[in-house]
């Protein structure tokens, strides 16, 4: 084997360019950008789906789309936003930021990281290919059996959904293993667990949730697949099957999943607030413990999604209490964030606005959550627009606001350009107003009885006005994202060049160039506290001496850096997996052929660097 070329020195590794270099990249920063860009595109796709739904619901007895198309729209909207927008947007920040924040040169398994991205893309494309062949999934984002059984969904639409989610789950699991090892095992010297930035902590909790919760949906989907393809009886009540089996398995995954969606945003906010309040995060260890608690309790509350199915008073009470308890660590965090702002010297940037928006909107979502944590109340609210309001306050008002706070905050680091702050602030206000105009009335609509997932309604129910208002709000949100796109467009062409540390930041990523060099750190820093860079610049604020700055890298340092070279096996492996899985929709021969191809690519992938060190292969 040509072992020498296996690792190239950092100096020679001036970032290569061109399409091929992106296809074969194993650089965590580029993979982060790939994740972020794809996620934003799918976010727009999901947004367009939402706008069509809002247009349909703008007026009673509307006929823009029919019932079937409407079912497809809300199913694909939900699935897209959860799995193709929020999760990969979080993944973009995990990828780009975690190695920088812990002082590492890359993730633990760079090629596995590339594989996660390509497998994600494969799943996303398969899901959306269903539109092309006219069989878009229509069973809702939680795909309840028995609606999804062959008997009631005979076409291929649910097959697309099952296979797509299965592939996406695989991608998340691989990324989960990778980031657990990266965070636990790749920290710079001195970075003890309690010195880790809070974003990294929240990411770690998320990875544990992914690794432990995704198997439940994997199994649920496998069982559904066996029911649909091989006639097994898992979800067949006629044969004695339990109609609640799916619901339990799905929500055992589903509730941890909502924390998978919110914790990254909570981590981002915990980085943004201290930077722009110029104060350390108030009670940072408590924020960390609360995050762990939330992750832990997240596994014990799933049945609050099932109060209406009649589980009996004991189960109802237990899950109700657990659900109310989980609001406590959540509330603790909110107080910590407010405490961080308290008497800080605050700079109002777009990033900070989005974080403030996050706190306010998330409080409202949390409050409606605690309301339907009570079973009698939930019986009134479940399956109405009230739940739609709740989930959008936490997912849009929470996750999306938090993620965009992160986007504004880290944009200069990632692109080397400053975004326009005025346009950013405009984006924020339009989005905040649009969001509340869209979703606040849904609380009221739900309480006066409007069910979710209806494609139209009669004119005399008193729902007309607020539905119209909601639709207007949705278009306001759309306009706010046009402002964001214009901002990006404008500043990428002629924006101010970002310095390494434009915000007077606190953590390690601001110690290096914007954008960072391929190898991130010329010299791996030694860490003395949670806000390492702040300690270097300003000391601890109590008259202590500043932490020592790491020495500038010498030529020799740079020459001794080894970065992993590009590889095309990740994309080939992902492509052959896609070929195999989509074979389930086409022909068994394709499955077999794809399986063999996958196996072949796995071997090539596994053996690509078997024995990279020359001295070892000489033995």
């Amino acid at each position: 084997m040509a072992t020498h070329a296996a690792f190239m020195p950092g100096e020679a590794a001036a970032a290569p360019s061109g399409l091929w270099s992106w296809i074969t990249t194993v650089d965590h920063k580029r993979i982060g950008i790939l994740y972020g860009t794809s996620a934003f595109i799918f976010f727009l796709v999901g947004g367009i789906e939402a706008l069509i739904m809002r247009l349909q619901l703008a007026a009673p007895d509307n006929t823009l789309v029919g019932a079937q198309r409407f079912n497809e729209l809300f199913t694909m909207h939900g699935t897209t936003m959860v799995f193709l927008a929020i999760m990969p947007m979080s993944a973009a920040f995990f990828n780009y930021m975690i190695p920088l924040l812990i002082g590492a040169r890359d993730v633990a398994f760079p090629r596995l990281n590339a594989l996660s991205y390509w497998v994600f893309l494969a799943g996303a494309l398969l899901l959306n290919a269903s539109f092309v062949v006219g069989a878009a999934p229509d069973g809702g984002w939680f795909g309840y059996a028995t609606l999804t059984s062959k008997q009631f969904s005979p076409g291929q639409s649910i097959d697309f959904w099952v296979l797509g989610l299965q592939i996406l789950g695989l991608s998340s699991l691989m990324a989960g293993f990778n980031f657990i090892v990266t965070i636990v095992n790749m920290r710079a010297p001195g970075m003890t667990l309690m010195r880790m930035p809070v974003f990294v902590w929240m990411s770690l909790v998320v990875q544990f949730l992914v690794v432990l919760a995704f198997p439940a949906i994997t199994v649920a989907l496998i069982l559904l697949m066996f029911d649909r393809f091989f006639g097994t009886l898992f979800y067949a009540p006629a044969a004695g099957g339990d109609p609640l089996l799916w619901q339990h398995l799905f929500w055992i995954f589903g509730h941890p999943e909502v924390y998978i969606l919110i914790l990254p945003a909570m981590g981002i906010v915990s980085e943004v607030l201290p930077t722009f309040a110029r104060k350390p995060l108030f009670g940072a260890p408590v924020v960390i413990y609360s995050g762990i608690m939330i992750g832990f309790f997240g596994f014990g509350v799933w049945s609050h999604h099932m109060f209406a199915v009649g589980m009996g008073p004991v189960a109802d009470s237990a899950f109700s209490i657990a659900t109310m308890l989980i609001a406590i660590p959540t509330g603790v965090k909110i107080f910590n964030w407010i405490g961080t702002l308290w008497s800080g010297s605050i700079r109002f940037t777009a990033a900070l606005y989005f974080s403030l928006g996050f706190i306010a909107m998330f409080i409202m979502g949390g409050l409606s959550g605690v309301m339907h944590a009570s079973p009698p109340v939930d019986l009134q609210q479940t399956d109405t627009y009230f739940v739609v309001a709740h989930l959008h306050y936490v997912l849009f008002g929470g996750s999306i606001f938090g993620l965009f706070s992160g986007a504004y905050y880290w944009w200069p680091k990632i692109t080397g350009r400053m975004l326009d702050e005025r346009l950013g602030t405009l984006h924020f206000w339009l989005m905040l107003i649009g969001f509340n105009v869209t979703f606040f009335p849904m609380h009221y609509l739900g309480l006066i009885g409007m069910p979710r997932r209806i494609y139209t309604y009669a004119p005399d129910l008193g729902w007309n006005f607020w539905n119209l208002v909601s639709t207007v709000g949705a278009f306001l949100i759309a306009v706010s994202f046009l402002v964001f796109i214009a901002n990006v467009w404008k500043t990428m062409r002629a924006g101010a060049v970002a310095s390494p540390d434009p915000w007077d930041g606190r953590t390690l990523e601001w110690a290096i160039a914007s954008p960072p060099p391929v190898h991130n750190f010329g010299v791996i820093p030694t860490v003395h506290g949670r806000d390492e860079l702040w300690l270097q610049k300003h000391g601890d604020g109590h008259g202590g001496t500043p932490a020592p700055r790491p020495p500038a890298p010498t030529r020799q340092d740079l020459a001794s850096i080894h970065m992993p070279p590009p590889s095309y096996w990740p994309i080939l492996l992902a492509a052959s997996m896609l070929f195999m899985m989509s074979g389930a929709l086409i022909s068994i021969y394709q499955v077999v052929l794809g399986g063999l191809l996958t196996l072949y690519c796995m071997f090539r992938f596994a053996l690509e660097y078997h024995r990279p060190h020359p001295q070892e292969s000489l033995r």
Binding site: A108, F109, L173, G176, F177, N178, I180, V181, V184, N185, M186, R187, M191, V211, L212, A213, F214, P215, A216, T218, V219, A220, I222, L223, F226, F230, G231, T232, L233, F234, A239, G240, G241, D242, L245, L249, I252, H562, F603, H610, R611, E616, R619
Partner: protein, 201 residues
Amino acid sequence: MSSAHVAAHAVHDPNTGTTGLDNRKMGMWAFLGSECMFFGTLIGTYLSYKGKSISGPTPHEILNIPLTSVSAFVLLMSSLLMVLALAAVQRNDMTWGKIWLFLTALLGAGFVGFQIYEFTHFVHLGLTLQTNLFGTTFFVLTGFHGAHVTGGVIWLLSLWVLALRGKLGPQDSLKVEICGLYWHFVDIVWIAIFTLVYLIP
């Protein structure tokens, strides 16, 4: 290799991290944690459907405990051979390393053979995936375990082929160790399945 050399090597090993553990091994542990949930969910499904079939055949009519005890014993013994294989590779005794690796795979394949026989036999007795809830849950649970064993056999044989071509030595013992972790895990899962599905009436 002198111990000083080993120490120096360890410092430069890009795979050894903050905790002093190897990245790849830690990744395997994370994967196995996930697999626990995977099999836990499958086993939970089996148990929650136990005795709920509305038609036969039922487990005690059909399960052949003596035969499966033999196959369980075969799988357990393969775990022992796996330990021997790793020890041989670590002390650079590749002759025995090859033998033990191959025999581990062989016993694993033997277990899969038993399972194929068992499945065909059950089908002849009228129990298929579609017969009743027992068939459905039984075949899917044990089938997924069998698929894991099959994957392990392929993995072991790949290591064996590498060893035959002189590309596996003590410096690769970690790869054998990781494969061993997986193999022992699959074994332990079988103990759980064997107890819960076969032994407990």
